[in-house]
Point group: C2
Chain length 197, copies 2
DNA sequence: GTCTATATCTCGATAGAC
DNA sequence: GTCTATCGAGATATAGAC
């Protein structure tokens, strides 16, 4: 946990890495231990030494995704002075994931949508991934002195989710780029205290 | 098929109705024959008399959804003269499904997102549900003499999908209403040949 | 046409040898 | 700590009596 890495810590980490990818590409409920075991090259039975259940692996995946996002957000906050530029950087991030978004949708949105159906407790945990990003958006809108920064943050999320969803349904890269461009135009045009107008 | 309804046609129809609801509330892969059999009060074994596989039931569900949507769209086309009013009617339809959208997301979007992961052939069929609506949107935008009507249609779909997704993730009825209102404002403000401006 | 019984498979999870 | 063997439940699908 501290300076010296536990013997099994690497295995645990590898399980989470593989599960993260497979939960995204296949969905949570459609990914079995066998799938993860095969790709992580770790016997099925060993999983229960590192995690007490499949839900527990999901917990690890969510924590991992949150941590990665926090680091990315902290970096943008440090390197970019203008909150508007920070928001634009977050939107443009989607361009770097074009291929996977078109094939599998947004990793956060699709995970939440799947869990919302029958696993509300797990979905609530998955929603915390959204929280990290929404809260960061809200901070940037607040710095921009925009009215209702929280609502603006949710609106930005909705625009990105909608773009990902439709691009995924139609496997349409051009539309994804069009929508990203439109979101950029919207952000660029926002005036202080001008709300959405 | 024609005037006289086949003996088993009612059972077939009931299976599709129940499956339609359960695929929405639970997801396609997480809904079993037992689930459908229980609620439709039809023994598991009988399913294979009416459908040759689970995929075949999904096919029936998709056809049913498409048929219902076509009827709704035809009605709006008949009763509303202004294409802008028709689009607004389609957007406001979401208000009538608030509760279910917040709980389970958009029935079309979540089904497509689920199938896109590992069942591309089925997803392509599910995308045809989107086609019906997108094509109808496109026709209305064309009548409005807006530039790039097909892109506008996809954009409208994306706005609605994004609103549903975020409202679902946060179980946030107020945000769904806010987004619907914003979409209405956007549609109302569209000028001919003015594109998105 | 309708239903019961069941085959075959895979799932998440556990027991226990080493 | 690591691995094999296996459990009980539940999945889709089928066989065949009525």
């Amino acid at each position: 946990m501290q300076q010296e890495q536990a013997r099994g810590e690497r295995n645990r980490q590898r399980i989470v890495e593989v599960a993260d990818r497979l939960f995204y590409e296949q969905g949570y409920n459609s990914t079995s231990f066998s799938d993860i075991a095969r790709e992580a090259e770790i016997p099925r039975g060993n999983f229960y030494y590192y995690f007490k259940s499949k839900d527990d692996i999901l917990e690890g995946v969510i924590e991992r995704r949150i941590e990665e996002m926090r680091e990315q957000l902290a970096q943008w906050r440090q390197t970019l002075d203008d909150p508007r530029e920070r928001l634009l950087a977050a939107v443009r991030m989607m361009l770097g994931s074009e291929d996977s978004i078109i094939r599998y949708g947004c990793p956060w949105g699709t995970l939440n949508a799947e869990l919302a159906k029958r696993q509300p407790a797990l979905q609530a945990r998955a929603a915390s991934m959204f929280d990290v990003l929404v809260e960061w958006y809200r901070e940037q809108f607040t710095e921009l002195a925009v009215a209702e920064p929280r609502t603006m943050a949710l609106h930005l999320m909705a625009r990105m989710q909608g773009a990902s969803m439709v691009a995924n349904v139609y496997t349409d890269r051009d539309f994804l780029r069009y929508e990203i461009n439109e979101i950029e135009r919207w952000l660029t045009g926002i005036r202080q205290q001008g709300a959405t107008r």
